[in-house]
C-alpha cells in the first residue's frame, strides 16, 4: 500500500460523504419545499385553522427550512430519526427490525445470485457465439423487459398456489426457526435473483471478454499456456476490478428491486415500510428510509471504485 493509493481512496471516501450530504439536502428539500402541507395531510381537509397552526408549531414547521434541516440531520447522525406522524412511534426502533429483514433477504439473494451470475458469465465467454452464449444474451434481453411483479406473481402462482411448495405470503416474526424463515424468503429471493441475474451475467461476460480479447492474452496463448492457466494467471487479475464493479452495480440495483418485491410478497422489510408511509404521506419516515436507501446505494458504488483503485497495477506500483 503506498501513499498515492491511500490518497485516492481517501479522496473517494470524502467524495462519497459529500455526495451523501448533498443527497440529504435534496431529500429534505424535496419534501419541504414542494407544495403540500404536512399538518394539513395529518389533520385532513376538515381541520380548523387553529388546529393546523398548533400542530405546525408543535412540529417546528414554522422554523426556517435551514434550521429544520440541521435539526433533522443532527438527529439522524445521533441515531434519532424522529417520530412517525401516522402513529407517533420512534422511527429508528421500528426501522431496525425491518432493516434486518431486508438485509436477510438481500444477503441470501446475493449469496445465490452473485456466484451463479459469474459462473454463467464465464460459461458464456467459454462458449462465445455458440448456443449457451446466445441463450444468455436472449434471456438478458427478455429479463430487462420483465417487470418485477410479473416474475413475482408468476412464481407465486405456480410454486405457491398451484404446487403449494412455498408459502405465498412471506410472513416472518421474531424467534422464527431458521428453516421456516428460509422457506418464507425462498420465492422473494428467487424473484430478485432472476431479476438481477441476467444483467449481472451479461455485464460479467462483457467485462471478461474485454480482457480475453486483449493482446496480453494472445501473448499468453502464443507462449503455449493452457486455457486454465491463461484464465487464472492472465485474465483473472485484470478482470477483478470490472467484475467487482458489475457485482456492486447489481447489488445497488437489488436494493431498489427489494421495494417492489417486499410489497408483492408482503414481506415486512424496509421497502414495505417505505411504501406504506408514502401512501400515508408520513414525511419523516419517508425521509429517513429514503436516506438509508440512498446511503446504501452510494456506499456500494464507492466500494466498487475503491476496488478499482486497489486493483490497478499502475497505481499500486507508480513509476
Amino acid at each position: 500500500m503506498n501513499l498515492l493509493v491511500l490518497k485516492l481512496i481517501a479522496q473517494r471516501i470524502a467524495l462519497g460523504i459529500l455526495l451523501l450530504f448533498l443527497v440529504s439536502i435534496l431529500i429534505f428539500a424535496g419534501t419541504q419545499i414542494l407544495p403540500g402541507d404536512v399538518a394539513q395531510s395529518i389533520l385532513g381537509q376538515g381541520a380548523t385553522d387553529q388546529a393546523l397552526a398548533n400542530l405546525r408549531r408543535e412540529m417546528g414547521l414554522d422554523d426556517p427550512a435551514v434550521t429544520r434541516y440541521f435539526n433533522w440531520l443532527g438527529g439522524i447522525l445521533q441515531g434519532d430519526m424522529g417520530t412517525a406522524l401516522s402513529n407517533n412511534r420512534d422511527i429508528a426502533s421500528s426501522l431496525w427490525g425491518r432493516a434486518q429483514n431486508t438485509l436477510f433477504l438481500a444477503f441470501w439473494t446475493a449469496l445465490v445470485a452473485v456466484p451463479l451470475a459469474i459462473i454463467l458469465g464465464l460459461v458464456a465467454v467459454r462458449y462465445q457465439n455458440r448456443w449457451p452464449d446466445r441463450a444468455i444474451s436472449g434471456t438478458t434481453l427478455t429479463a430487462i423487459s420483465l417487470p418485477e411483479f410479473f416474475v413475482g406473481y408468476v412464481l407465486m402462482y405456480f410454486f405457491a398456489v398451484k404446487l403449494g411448495w412455498f408459502p405465498s405470503v412471506s410472513t416472518v416474526y421474531d424467534g422464527m426457526p431458521f428453516a421456516d424463515r428460509m422457506m418464507a424468503i425462498a420465492l422473494p429471493a428467487a424473484t430478485l435473483t432472476l431479476i438481477i441475474l441476467a444483467h449481472m451475467m451479461r455485464m460479467t461476460r462483457a467485462a471478461i471478454l474485454n480482457v480475453m480479447q486483449s493482446a496480453y492474452v494472445e501473448t499468453a496463448e502464443l507462449k503455449g499456456l493452457g486455457g486454465l492457466k491463461i484464465i487464472w494467471r492472465h485474465a483473472f487479475p485484470n478482470s477483478v476490478a470490472p467484475v467487482v464493479n458489475v457485482v456492486m452495480l447489481n447489488l445497488a440495483f437489488l436494493v431498489v428491486g427489494v421495494v417492489v418485491i417486499e410489497v408483492i410478497f408482503v414481506y415486512p422489510g424496509l421497502g414495505q415500510y417505505l411504501i406504506d408511509h408514502v401512501a400515508k404521506r408520513d414525511v419523516p419516515v419517508v425521509q429517513a428510509v429514503g436516506l438509508i436507501f440512498a446511503a446504501v446505494y452510494i456506499g456500494l458504488n464507492m466500494v466498487a471504485d475503491i476496488v478499482s483503485i486497489l486493483a490497478n497495477p499502475r497505481l499500486r506500483h507508480p513509476k
Binding site: S214, A215, Y216, E218, T219, A220, E221, L222, K223, G224, L225, G226, K229, R233, H234, P237, N238, P313, R314, H317, K319
Partner: protein, 545 residues
C-alpha cells in the same frame, strides 16, 4: 536445403467477414503461399496493409487472429505439420519452438505482473529450465539487448518502462526459452526513428548470437533489408517476388517491387527563400495550461509564398503544438504570428473570416477529418458556400473542378467517406483545403497513416498543386525521407525547442548539431549494410568524443 526449420506449402487462409446488411461470407486472404526457412536464417515478409503478411507470419504458431482460419496447405516446423497437431501438441510448439514478438509490446505485456515473471513464464511452463536458471538467462538477455540495470530490470512492471525498452523486453521474452523460430511482427513500427535503430540493432545482434531463425514482418522495406537474409514481397495475399535480400533491393524484377524500392525518391528542386515571407512565427512560447511546462520554447520560423517548410521531430517534440498555435486553437503565452502582411489575433475566435480562409489545415487521419455522414460534395462544397457564397450549380461545377485537380473523377461527388480508400480520403481533404483558395496549408503528418506507395502519390500531388496554386505548405512530419523529398526549408525540433533551421541543403549538410546528426543517421536507408555502417559511425563518433 540442408536443415529446414520451416517449410510452408500452398498455404491458404480464409476469414469470415460480416458486412452490415449483408450475409456473412468467407474471403480468401492468403492464396497459396510457399516458403522455406533454414535454421538460423531470417526471412522478411513485406507488403502493404491487407497483404496477408501477419497472417502468414502467425501460421507457424498455428494461430489465427480474429476468426482467421487456415484452410489448406502444410506448415512444417522441424519437419512436423503444425496444422495436423492436436491442441496439446500445438501448445508444446508455441513458446518452446516458436515464439512471437508483437508490434505493440505495451499491450502485449500483462499490466498486472512483473516483467521478469512474464519473460521467464514460457521457459518455466514448458519445463525448459529451473527458475534460477531462467532468471539468469533473462538477465543475460536483458544485458545483451542493452536494457538498463539488467539485474533489476525484471522487477519492474510494464508501465514503469519506456516503449523501446518494452519492445526489447519482449524480444528477451521470445528468446528466453531458446526457440528455433521467432516471429517478429512489425517490432519497431510504433517507435521513434532514433529508438528504432537501437531496437533494430539489438534484435539483429540477438538473432546472430543465438542462431535462432526468424520471420520478420514489416511494411518498411528499408528496415527489413537490414536484418533479413531473404525477402518475400506480398500483395493481396499473393506472392510478388521472393529472393535474396541484396537481389530484391538492388535488382528487383517485378514492377511492384521496383516501386517499393524507389519509394520517396521524388526529385524536388529546393527553392531559395523570397524577400517577404507569407508566414513568420516570432518567439512563440506555448503551454497547454497555465502552470504546465511550456511545450514550445521561443520558436521563430519563416515561410515564403509558394514554398514548403518542413517541421520535423519525434513524438513530444512539439511539432503538432506549433500547428495548433498557428491556427489559433492554442493561443501562445508569448510571441506573435504574422501572416500575409498582418499580425494574426492569438485566439481562433478573434480571427476574421479571411484569416481563417487563407490558412487551411490537412490532418493525419483523413477518416476522422471528414464527417462520415456528409457526402464528398458537401465536404468540398461547404467551404465554397461558406467563404464564397457559391450555391447550386455553380458550387457543383466548382466541386467537380476540384475533384479533377486531385485526380479523382466526377463520380465521387455523391459518395460517402466510408466508400473511399485511404489515399482517396486524403485527396478529398486536400480538395477541401484548396476550395478555400488558401495562401498556406498546414499538413500535419498527412502521409504517416498511408502505405508507402499511396503516400508517394499524395506527396507528388501536393507538389504539383503547389506549382499551380502557388500555395505555401507547413509540413509537419516525423519522417525525414518525406522531408528530403519535398521541403524547401527545414526546421528540426526536439523537446519543444528549435535545434536547427534553414534552407534544405544547409540543414542537411554538415556540420551537424548532435540531435540532427542522430536523427539523420537513424533514418533507415534502402540498402544492405546500412545498419552496420550507421552503428559503426556512431561508435566512432562516441570514441572521438
Amino acid at each position: 536445403m540442408a536443415d529446414p526449420l520451416l517449410e510452408i506449402r500452398n498455404l491458404k487462409i480464409e476469414v469470415t467477414i460480416r458486412p452490415p446488411g449483408e450475409k456473412p461470407h468467407d474471403i480468401t486472404i492468403v492464396k497459396g503461399i510457399d516458403l522455406d526457412l533454414a535454421r538460423g536464417k531470417v526471412l522478411g515478409l513485406i507488403g502493404e496493409s491487407g497483404a496477408g503478411k501477419s497472417t502468414i507470419g502467425l501460421s507457424p504458431a498455428g494461430y489465427g487472429r480474429g476468426g482467421v482460419r487456415i484452410t489448406g496447405g502444410e506448415v512444417k516446423v522441424n519437419g512436423r505439420d503444425i496444422l495436423q497437431l492436436s491442441k496439446g501438441a500445438l501448445r508444446n510448439v508455441r513458446g518452446r519452438e516458436v515464439c512471437y514478438v508483437a508490434q505493440s509490446a505495451a499491450a502485449a505485456f500483462n499490466p498486472a505482473h512483473r516483467l521478469m515473471d512474464q519473460v521467464i513464464e514460457s521457459t518455466l511452463f514448458h519445463g525448459l529450465a529451473s527458475r534460477s536458471e531462467a532468471v539468469a538467462r533473462a538477465v543475460k538477455l536483458f544485458r545483451k539487448l542493452g536494457l538498463p540495470d539488467p539485474e533489476n530490470f525484471g522487477q519492474r512492471y510494464p508501465h514503469q518502462v519506456s516503449g523501446g525498452q518494452l519492445q526489447r523486453a519482449m524480444t528477451a521474452m521470445a528468446l528466453c526459452p531458446e526457440p528455433d523460430l521467432i516471429i517478429f511482427d512489425e517490432p519497431t513500427t510504433a517507435l521513434d526513428v532514433t529508438t528504432q535503430i537501437e531496437v533494430l540493432a539489438a534484435i539483429k545482434d540477438a538473432i546472430q548470437d543465438t542462431g535462432v531463425g526468424a520471420l520478420y514482418i514489416t511494411h518498411d522495406l528499408a528496415v527489413v533489408a537490414q536484418v533479413s537474409d531473404e525477402i518475400m514481397v506480398l500483395r493481396n495475399g499473393e506472392l510478388v517476388e521472393y529472393g535474396e535480400t541484396r537481389q530484391i533491393i538492388e535488382d528487383p524484377q517485378e514492377e511492384y517491387t521496383k516501386a517499393l524500392v524507389s519509394v520517396r525518391s521524388i526529385n524536388h528542386q529546393a527553392k531559395a527563400p523570397e524577400e517577404a515571407p507569407i508566414l513568420s512565427v516570432r518567439n512563440i512560447t506555448a503551454a497547454y495550461n497555465k502552470s504546465a511546462d511550456p511545450v514550445l520554447k521561443d520558436i521563430s520560423v519563416e515561410l515564403s509564398p509558394g514554398q514548403t517548410l518542413a517541421v520535423v521531430g519525434e513524438s513530444g517534440s512539439g511539432k503538432s503544438t506549433l500547428a495548433r498555435v498557428i491556427t489559433g486553437l492554442l493561443p501562445p503565452k508569448v510571441g506573435q504570428i504574422d501572416f500575409a502582411g498582418r499580425t494574426l489575433p492569438r485566439a481562433l475566435k478573434q480571427r476574421t473570416k479571411d484569416d481563417l480562409r487563407e490558412l487551411q489545415m490537412i490532418y493525419q487521419m483523413a477518416d476522422v477529418a471528414m464527417n462520415p455522414r456528409h457526402t464528398v460534395g458537401t465536404i468540398i462544397g461547404r467551404p465554397l458556400e461558406f467563404y464564397f457564397g457559391l450555391k447550386g450549380k455553380a458550387k457543383r461545377e466548382r466541386v467537380n473542378e476540384l475533384l479533377d485537380k486531385i485526380e479523382m473523377g466526377e463520380g465521387f461527388i455523391d459518395r460517402y467517406p466510408a466508400e473511399l480508400s485511404g489515399g482517396q480520403k486524403q485527396r478529398v481533404c486536400i480538395a477541401r483545403a484548396l476550395a478555400a483558395k488558401p495562401k498556406l496549408i498546414i499538413c500535419d503528418e498527412v502521409t504517416s497513416a498511408l502505405d508507402p506507395l499511396v503516400a508517394d502519390g499524395i506527396l507528388k500531388l501536393l507538389l504539383k498543386l503547389q506549382e499551380i496554386e502557388n500555395v505555401a505548405y507547413l509540413f509537419i512530419t516525423h519522417d525525414l525521407a518525406t522531408v528530403k523529398a519535398i521541403a524547401d526549408s527545414i526546421a528540426v525540433m526536439y523537446q519543444g525547442e528549435l535545434v536547427r533551421y534553414g534552407p534544405r541543403e544547409q540543414v542537411l549538410s554538415p556540420p551537424f548539431d548532435d540531435y540532427t546528426d542522430l536523427l539523420l543517421a537513424s533514418v533507415p536507408q534502402m540498402r544492405v549494410g546500412w545498419l552496420e555502417e550507421a552503428l559503426a559511425n556512431r561508435r566512432m563518433a562516441s570514441q572521438g568524443n
